[in-house]
Symmetry: C2
Subunit: 335 residues, 2 copies
């Protein structure tokens, strides 16, 4: 019997369907959502999310400074809170340390972790440290969101536009540069930082959620092709990404030429960009764009639209090819 | 520079002292406690705790059936909720799986995990699965407790009695039997179960907390000598354990003779009993004993008293010796 993570999670989810009283939503979205107080019809909802990072699987200490790893381990969890339109409040941190002395690393790691806590006015409220063969990190973040503002993955509707909050593929390009040892020359700082120290989109998530203009939202952690597949599955719709609309930075295009890689591959399948991916009725486009520009001084990018059916198609010159869940099995390299 | 878990946690705690608005207490008790809703003066408090278990460090699959490991990984977290007088509500489960096929193990593990979820009417609301060299489990549990009933570690007062909720050393004796391969003969079932499948004291924790009769409470996870040291440190008091009062089962006494071990050592330093350890004014003793007998049909055991000063002393025939934090450095074997 084969065993994949997705299968494992879907089995867990199937068994988790009978939820207890105060729970609003459990597995299947970026965060679990629960009523803080029974019969509270008005107030705030609690949000909780957890993510683990394992040495040599999710990070490589030969190029990842421990301080930035501390930042990233928290940021990726905060990103899940941002994806619901929420405000992160509390973190729990579990670290597995190998037997050898890692106090220097631990200090640097914690310095980065505390920096991000401070940036979001969060508190570390618990955790555990254990001995292990692997160095691993497991972080849980608890947050809150107003009941009337929360945005789920499951509410995308046919005909809506699909948006992302920034350039895609940056983190994947940064990872590739690090893998090739090209992280010391001071060039490509932005791209490398996208991999080492991603920036969770909390302010934007809140602006979008509070605006009431967006229907579905999540963060881009596994690559937009995969993450959009989740929105489609949860919302029972399909999606078309227009290849020409995928936002690529000039840095990523230059880097792709230099490394002979496909920037589109990075953008669709790379993952770890921690941008927000969201859908909205076409009639909201102008309002949404000007709101984000006015409140945060930034752009957002339309990349396609929600359609009838299921799965994610990449469209170019009127032709479409399936890229659901990253399309690892049958996705030809981009141009 | 040396690096110990306690030092690491105390450093984290020192840095965590500037907490954000809604937090009632962070690191330093069994659970972190936070206000669910700002300015909520009356209602429930949220509780959250996390614990990790690593293969070959915290468990040994050669004698620990995966189903019971699934039960235990959740139970030890529930025990922290019980120790505040709380009700466990939600769990998050992160599992690190080695590359090899572990689907059979994963199914058994989850079956046990779900059993305990069901026993406490809890919901699994999130988690993560990752690849790792070690098989590891990181569980977070969220619960709630009425604001007026919560019991902390930090409120033990001089002159109070110290109580435990059941036999001590059972889990340590069970572990020793397993280590020696003596877990298959069908004997010592209770002791072995205490190690493999501990029973968190949720009902008792709630009865005690709601009674208002207890001052300080925690669960016995690291051995009563260590755990009582935490209560003393948090409450700025000392403690005396009377050796003759330490509750030992007849099974453990027989097992100790058979294995030529000290049952007192198991009881004080063994850990993982997940009984409750609590303090109460002497004037509450009779009320508390009869309440527990009436509500739950069980006994509780007085083992000593809170004194001025600091640290934990073990008293026998009028002589006292220091056993703070298990006294690993200078604790002579018991009789």
């Amino acid at each position: 019997m084969s065993f994949s993570e997705r299968e494992f999670i879907s089995r867990i989810r199937a068994q988790s369907s009978s939820v207890s009283g105060g729970l609003v939503t459990g597995i299947g979205d970026d965060c679990a959502v629960f009523n803080c107080i029974e019969n509270d019809q008005e107030g705030k909802l609690g949000l909780v999310t957890t993510d683990a990072l394992v040495d040599s699987i999710h990070f490589d200490l030969s190029w990842h400074p421990a301080k930035l790893l501390g930042r990233k381990s928290l940021s990726v969890n905060i990103s899940d809170i941002a994806a619901m339109g929420g405000k992160p409040l509390y973190a729990l941190l579990t670290v597995g340390f190998p037997g050898k002395d890692m106090s220097g690393l631990a200090d640097d790691f914690m310095a980065g972790f505390y920096e991000v806590l401070g940036e979001h006015k969060m508190a570390l409220i618990g955790g555990d440290t254990v001995r292990s063969k692997d160095f691993f990190i497991s972080v849980t973040v608890i947050g809150e969101v107003a009941r009337e503002h929360i945005v789920y993955r499951s509410c995308a509707k046919e005909g809506e536009d699909i948006w992302v909050s920034g350039f895609l593929g940056q983190a994947a390009a940064g990872l590739e540069l690090c893998r090739r040892g090209m992280f010391k020359d001071g060039e490509n700082k932005k791209i490398i930082a996208a991999h080492l120290d991603p920036n969770p989109q909390v302010a934007l998530g809140q602006v979008l959620a509070e605006s009431g203009l967006v229907s579905a939202m999540m963060d881009v952690s596994d690559g937009v092709a995969t993450d959009l597949s989740h929105i489609c599955a949860e919302s029972s719709v399909g999606a078309e990404i227009e290849e020409d609309l995928v936002p690529l930075s000039s840095e990523i295009s230059e880097t792709a030429i230099r490394l002979q890689c496909s920037p589109l591959d990075w953008a669709l399948r790379g993952g770890e960009d921690y941008q927000l991916l969201f859908t909205a009725p076409a009639s909201n486009s102008e309002n949404m764009k000007s709101l984000v520009l006015q409140k945060l001084g930034r752009e957002i990018f339309r990349i396609g639209r929600i359609v009838k059916g299921k799965g994610v198609q990449l469209c170019r010159f009127g032709e479409a090819r399936e890229v659901s869940y990253g399309g690892f099995d049958h996705f030809a390299p981009g141009p």
